[in-house]
């Protein structure tokens, strides 16, 4: 590919844009999470820093920046340092093919969805390395749980995405949204897949009721037990960005991405993304964590067969029609 001034400018704009989206999203979502949690528990959440406590996350971030990073003496230092980076970088990259409107997209890829799924898997690698590298039994337990969990949700997740790909006939995220233009959103064609996908992304983003890797009440803090200061907050940044990404993919696949009346495209896209984010928060502050074996049984015995049947059914109907 020729490196032109345009492509360099585009790259710079992409990096700036994604960094902005990731940063602002994290600040806002952490605030929203604390507000939602507060109000669901008869509290108010943060109120002091900034209007309605909006800048609380910024203050917390500054505090974390100024804290010492403690390296356990028995830790495998290179892995210990790499783990949060491996958690964070893939989600950064995975935002590249996500379209925010017909024209607002960092880079159009015809295999955009595949790229997002593949990069999403690296998150678990980061968690595994974090648990392995710091030589702590709780961290290792959390990491091994995350790895056990990944198979239970990833296969049903893919089987929920496949019917949408069948309907749209493309792997490009942009084309999938375009395919929903003028017809009903895919959530109405694929209610079962949509429902299963919601459950699967709750597992994928390590959110309660499936937050085994972290499991505060069982494993201290799971895989990031030994992390402090900014390295700890990198994990948080990765988690909240991952939630953002999963919600973006969910709204593209099932709720028609930027499509919607009156309001401009990006606004609709963000509205849908934050609808999913709120839904995940709602789950988290309502449902207690299930047992590990219950989750695995649920993933293998219910999610997998139902999503497989749903996929086969869709394929059969499409072959007949």
């Amino acid at each position: 590919m020729m490196i032109t001034e345009i492509s360099i400018l585009r790259t710079l704009l992409t990096i700036t844009g994604i960094t902005l989206v990731v940063g602002i999203n994290a600040v806002f979502v952490v605030w929203l999470e604390r507000k939602v949690a507060g109000h669901m528990q008869f509290r108010l959440g943060p109120t002091e820093v900034g209007p309605a406590g909006l800048l609380q996350t910024v203050a917390d971030g500054l505090k974390l920046l100024s804290k010492q990073i403690i390296f356990p003496s028995s830790a495998d230092t290179p892995i210990f340092i790499l783990a949060p980076i491996i958690c964070l970088i893939p989600v950064f990259v995975a935002l590249v093919p996500v379209p925010f409107s017909e024209t607002l997209q960092a880079h159009e890829l015809d295999i955009g969805l595949l790229l997002v799924i593949a990069l999403g898997l690296l998150n678990t690698l980061g968690i595994l390395l974090a648990g392995w590298g710091c030589d702590n039994k709780y961290a290792l337990l959390g990491a091994s749980r995350a790895v056990a969990q990944i198979l239970a949700y990833k296969i049903p997740l893919l089987l929920c995405i496949l019917p949408v790909i069948l309907l749209a006939g493309t792997f490009s995220l942009r084309e999938i949204v375009v395919a929903q233009e003028g017809t009903m959103w895919f959530a109405f064609y694929q209610p079962v897949a949509f429902f299963m996908y919601l459950i699967a992304i709750t597992m994928e983003t390590n959110r309660s009721p499936f937050d085994f890797a972290e499991a505060e009440s069982e494993l201290v803090a799971g895989f990031h037990t030994e992390y402090s200061g900014m390295m700890f907050s990198l994990f948080f940044l990765a988690e909240y960005t991952y939630m953002f990404l999963a919600s973006a993919i969910a709204s593209i696949l099932f709720l028609g991405g930027w499509l919607g009346p009156i309001l401009p495209g990006p606004v609709w896209m963000l509205l849908k993304i934050y609808f999913f984010l709120f839904l995940m928060m709602w789950f988290r502050w309502t449902f207690p964590r299930v047992r590990v074996d219950q989750m695995l049984a649920f993933g293998w015995k219910i999610l997998l067969p139902v999503s497989l049947l749903n996929f086969l059914f869709t394929a059969g109907v499409m072959a007949v029609l």
């Binding site: 939602v36 109000h39 008869f42 108010l44 109120t47 789950f283 309502t286 449902f287």
Partner: protein
């Protein structure tokens, strides 16, 4: 797959929805939080703060320094000294000190006062850097004194 299995799944789903309803209604209901000190909760009518002296129309204390409250106090936390101002028929307090660190807010002093010169204050925001602020509260502060300045003990 039998019927009870499916029923189990359906009732489980219903319970999940029910749980989400509970959290949503809680979220939308305004909570009881009062953001003190920017706003204060209304005090109950019969709130018992530390005692204070009742003043008459002229702003002086109604207290006649009889010492009934001192005798009634089970915690020995009131100290009263009084004197007759020139030309007056009744005594007036020259010192009225409360050791609020010992007070149990029983209210016996208020009940025993023959001239109803004691009452409960509505002062609850009590915090200080020095315990002496509360171990010797001067209840005569802010009360007009019938004595010339130099006579006031303390």
């Amino acid at each position: 797959m039998n019927w009870s299995y499916a029923k189990n799944i359906i009732s489980g789903l219903a319970s999940l929805v029910q749980g989400m309803q509970v959290t949503m209604t809680t979220m939308l209901t305004p909570g009881p939080t009062v953001e003190w000190p920017r706003e204060t909760a209304p005090l109950p009518l019969r709130f018992r703060g530390h005692i204070k002296l009742v003043t008459d129309e002229a702003g002086g204390a109604k207290c006649i320094a009889c010492g009934a409250c001192v005798r009634a106090c089970p915690s020995v936390c009131i100290e009263v000294r009084g004197d007759k101002p020139e030309g007056a028929k009744k005594k007036a307090p020259t010192l009225f000190q409360l050791d609020f660190t010992k007070c149990s807010l029983c209210g016996l002093c208020v009940e025993s006062c023959p001239v109803a010169a004691l009452t409960y204050s509505r002062d609850y925001a009590l915090a200080g850097a020095d315990r002496r602020v509360y171990s010797s509260m001067d209840l005569l502060a802010g009360v007009a004194s019938p004595f010339p300045e130099q006579c006031h003990e303390l």
